[in-house]
């Protein structure tokens, strides 16, 4: 099927954005609470020292906490959807489609996360109720030693 994405939108593919965060115990504890994981590895230092990590570590998909750029509300689309999927296409209604998350190194309190994110692909498919627009977004998460700790390729789906 012919790709119905405008040239203006296609120009956004590969444009990388970068930002940096420092991980705290509070970030890890709150993330674990938000996903409903009571594992003491995420908040109990005494327990965590007895594990192979020898420290509090973050849950496997913790990098989701820094995956969306923290732009001001005025910079978001009217529906508040993430700017990562804000591309000039006629479709406006968005849902999360799927994801591939690779996890290599668990983050610990005090670590730095360097986020490098870009749109990897844009394409269309005919759905049951009309044309669907797919936005494939790749985010790499590096630690302070420039080691790739995690990588996510997320797919957002937009409908007119």
């Amino acid at each position: 099927m012919e790709n119905e994405i405008s040239r203006e939108a296609l120009k956004l593919i590969g444009v990388e954005k970068q930002r940096k965060y420092v991980v705290t115990k509070k970030d890890i504890r709150r993330f674990a609470q938000a996903i409903g994981d009571p594992n003491p590895l995420y908040y109990d230092e005494v327990y965590a020292k007895t594990t192979r990590f020898e420290s509090i570590v973050a849950p496997p998909l913790f990098c989701h906490s820094v995956a969306f750029e923290d732009v001001s509300p005025e910079q978001l689309p009217p529906d508040g959807s993430p700017v990562e999927a804000d591309v000039p296409i006629p479709a406006k209604r968005m849902v999360g489609g799927g994801s591939v998350f690779e996890n290599y190194i668990r983050f610990k309190p005090g670590d730095t996360i360097v986020v490098k994110a870009k749109i990897k692909d844009l394409y269309t498919k005919q759905g049951k109720s009309g044309l669907l627009y797919f936005i494939v977004h790749e985010t790499c998460f590096y630690n302070q030693n420039n080691e790739l700790a995690a990588k996510e390729t997320a797919t957002f789906i937009k409908r007119i």
Partner: protein, 143 residues
């Protein structure tokens, strides 16, 4: 969580991972939006979600992934780690749903002295409708 695994276990193809149940409510969906700084209205405004053809506010793609990661993490406990998780959301999950994760071992791979196990995983709601499905890979640490 049933069927917790040990590092010395041999894991045969077809082995079931047990069941893992999550019951997301509005509070959890709100908390996950807050912690991920996800300000998309379909996760907090019922009116907006319904106007977009959704049944209610919906559970985030990433929260569904975290439930699946938690499922795998509890299965392998302290002997390994979730290395890769691929999931596709095929139906909306909404507050009040009972989401049950299941999985089955697909294959075992030895890579750099580590044992990797690849599993087919699925999440269904209380009506046995598939919410998400995918593949999870766990990495066992050698002793």
């Amino acid at each position: 969580m049933e069927n917790c695994l040990h590092v010395e276990d041999s894991v045969a193809m077809g082995t079931k991972l047990g069941k893992f149940v999550k019951k997301p409510d509005l509070k959890q969906i709100f908390m996950f939006s807050a912690i991920t700084w996800n300000r998309h209205a379909i996760h907090y405004s019922r009116e907006r979600a319904i106007s977009e053809g959704l049944p209610d506010v919906v559970v985030q793609r990433a929260l569904i992934g975290n439930f699946l990661a938690q499922f795998l993490d509890q299965w392998i406990k302290d002997v390994g780690d979730v290395q890769r998780l691929e999931w596709k959301v095929v139906r909306s999950a909404i507050p009040g749903d009972t989401l049950t994760c299941t999985g089955v071992v697909k294959k075992e791979i030895i890579e750099n002295n580590n044992k990797l196990i690849e599993c087919d995983i699925e999440m269904v709601n209380q009506r046995a409708e598939t919410i998400a499905k995918g593949v999870g890979t766990v990495r066992f640490y050698t002793r």
